[in-house]
C-alpha cells in the first residue's frame, strides 16, 4: 500500500490540489484499514492451507447472508451445499473465509453421510463490509466455491 502510493508520480500541481486535510484523510483512509485486514495473499494462503492446489469451481453452494449487517459483532450466516450425501457422493468439508477480517479464516465444518445435508447456520464476526467465501470439498476430491458480499455498518473486531 505504501509502495503503491509512493510509486505514483506526484506533480507539484497535484500536491497543491491535494494539500491540507484532504490529502491526510485520503492517506489515513487508505492505510489504516489496510493494516487491520487480510490482504489477498493472506486469503490465498489460508485457502491453500486447507484445500492445497486444487482449483475450485463455482456452484453448488448457497450462501444465506444478510444484505446489511448492522452489528459486525454477530452476523448470522448460513450455507447449504447441493449434494445427495450418500457414502459415494457427499460433502466432506466446508471452509468459510472473510476477506476483510484481520484473519481471513472463519471456520471449517466437517460432514459425514449421516449428516443428511450439508447445511449449517452460525454467527460470526465481521470487521467491515466484505466478501464471504465458502469452499466445499466433496468426497470425490472436487472443490466448489461460493462467494457473496455483506455490508457491515459497525465493525466487530474490537479496538
Amino acid at each position: 500500500m505504501i509502495n503503491k502510493l509512493e510509486m505514483q508520480p506526484v506533480t507539484r500541481r497535484d500536491l497543491l490540489r491535494y494539500a491540507g486535510t484532504g490529502a491526510l484523510a485520503a492517506v489515513a483512509a487508505g492505510l489504516l484499514p489496510a493494516m487491520a485486514q487480510a490482504d489477498a495473499k493472506m486469503m490465498a494462503d489460508a485457502m491453500k492451507k486447507l484445500i492445497g492446489d486444487k482449483k475450485p469451481t463455482d456452484g453448488k453452494i448457497t450462501l444465506e447472508l444478510p444484505q446489511i449487517a448492522e452489528n459486525g459483532r454477530t452476523v448470522p450466516i448460513g450455507f447449504e451445499v447441493d449434494s445427495p450425501m450418500t457414502d459415494a457422493d457427499h460433502v466432506k468439508s466446508v471452509h468459510i473465509f472473510a476477506d476483510g477480517n484481520p484473519r481471513p479464516d472463519v471456520a471449517s465444518f466437517h460432514f459425514t453421510p449421516q449428516s443428511g445435508t450439508a447445511k449449517v447456520g452460525v454467527r460470526i464476526r465481521l470487521a467491515k463490509t466484505q466478501n464471504i467465501v465458502a469452499l466445499a470439498e466433496m468426497s470425490d476430491g472436487s472443490v466448489y466455491m461460493g462467494k457473496a458480499p455483506v455490508k457491515v455498518t459497525i465493525g466487530g473486531c474490537g479496538g
Binding site: P113, G116, V120, R123
Partner: protein
C-alpha cells in the same frame, strides 16, 4: 469453562430417515486476541472455543474448527439423519483443551 452455560435443541420426535436440525449454544466470550485492554493498552490474549463436535449414538455426525471470527456466545445449527432413538452429544473444546458436553434425546418414531 466447566460450568459454562449451554443450550441444545433437537426436534421432539423425528421419523426414521428424516434429516433433522440440531441447534447448540454456549456462553463464551470468544476473546479474539485482537482486542486491546483499555487501561493497559496491552493485547488481551486469545481465548476461544476452537472445536465443536456432535456425536449421534456414539458416531460423529458433525465436526467443526472455529477461528476467532466466530461470534461471542457461539450459536451453531447443523443437521443429522435420524437412524434410531438415542442421544446426541454436543462437545465444545477451548484453547486450553478443556471440554464441555451437553446432550439431547433423539426420539425416532
Amino acid at each position: 469453562m466447566a460450568k459454562a452455560k449451554t443450550r441444545v435443541k433437537v426436534p421432539k420426535s423425528v421419523k426414521k430417515g428424516e434429516v433433522f436440525e440440531a441447534k447448540a449454544l454456549i456462553k463464551h466470550k470468544m476473546e479474539t486476541g485482537q482486542r486491546k485492554d483499555r487501561k493497559t493498552g496491552e493485547k488481551v490474549p486469545r481465548f476461544i472455543i476452537n472445536k465443536f463436535t456432535a456425536e449421534y449414538n456414539g458416531k460423529q455426525v458433525f465436526a467443526s474448527d472455529w477461528h476467532p471470527a466466530i461470534a461471542a456466545n457461539p450459536f451453531i445449527s447443523f443437521h443429522a439423519k435420524a437412524s434410531e432413538s438415542g442421544t446426541m452429544v454436543f462437545k465444545w473444546t477451548d484453547d486450553k483443551g478443556k471440554t464441555v458436553e451437553a446432550s439431547a434425546k433423539v426420539n425416532v418414531a
